[in-house]
Symmetry: C2
DNA sequence: TATTGTTATACTCTATAACTATA
DNA sequence: TATAGTTATAGAGTATAACAATA
């Protein structure tokens, strides 16, 4: 059987060697989706760091700054600025720990909890864009595989 | 039925909200695996950029610097330094295009072709480490899903 | 004037290291 | 002395813009 339209190779197509490389796809795709999310968040005046911090606080346990930083693999010095922004926006509260006055206990405000919902919607929108070519099952399998790999190399990832 | 060892939640566990986020996993994992690769390549005195450039040239078609940069989404100015390193190491050759003397035609040397094999082995080693928790089929499915998503958002990715 | 490769500059992130206040 | 949070500094990585040669 003849091929009426033989594969037209694009002039700037990535080499097969790299397309065959799962790690290359992972790195490229991860960076691209991060950039998209970053852009979307910035339009609303927020950052991805802020979202991840709110997500940590959303788990209910009150946290000290050090544990938040460790959880997110964030530099403690870097976290300060993130919390400053969140506090200014009224999304979190810092209170001195009365037992150990060096520590700050960080907690969500009601406004902060509300904001998580909005941020979650942004993430969902972006993920739906990216994973649109996958059906629900494939997408779930993708997530499961990534989570297993992530949990295997970093114990902070918890898989069910 | 009682649970003898109830789930011990790690103190620095990532919030479920983020673990449930495919894009978060993708970004985190992509960055982690890139760092690992970077480190491994640097031990051999090479960079990931160099590998990707060699991989492009390995496809057989002789390229001009601009097309290489475009393919890899690299800045043209940045590419210069990468090529300098590769040329110094004797892995590539730059020749003036006789038709258009502004252009440089870049091609692999035999040593360069040989080096691709070594670099490929490094990548394989790292991928085997990361994807070790997945069986062959799951891993293939993961790759396929990523490639489809990548091709959907960037036409340079070619899927079979 | 526009384009190729080159070089130089500036900006963003991040990583490191001081600094303070409490313990 | 050691630790939590803060602040300041330095480095890598990247993006932008000027530059010389050729078209």
């Amino acid at each position: 059987m003849t091929v009426p339209f033989p594969e037209v190779k694009q002039p700037d197509a990535l080499p097969e060697e790299l397309c065959a490389c799962t790690s290359f796809l992972l790195a490229r795709l991860g960076y691209a989706i991060k950039l998209s999310a970053l852009e979307a968040f910035e339009e609303e005046g927020f950052s991805l760091y802020q979202y991840s911090v709110l997500a940590v606080l959303g788990e209910g346990t009150r946290e000290t700054q050090a544990t938040i930083a460790d959880t997110l693999k964030l530099d403690r010095g870097q976290l300060v600025g993130v919390l400053d922004g969140l506090e200014e926006a009224g999304l979190i509260e810092r209170r001195r720990d009365q037992v150990d006055r060096r520590r700050h206990t960080v907690s969500l405000t009601p406004a902060g909890r509300k904001q998580i919902g909005k941020m979650r919607a942004i993430v969902k929108r972006i993920e739906d864009q990216y994973f649109e070519p996958l059906d629900a099952e494939t997408r779930a399998n993708l997530h499961d595989a990534l989570l297993r790999v992530a949990a295997n190399q970093d114990s902070r990832f918890q898989h069910s």
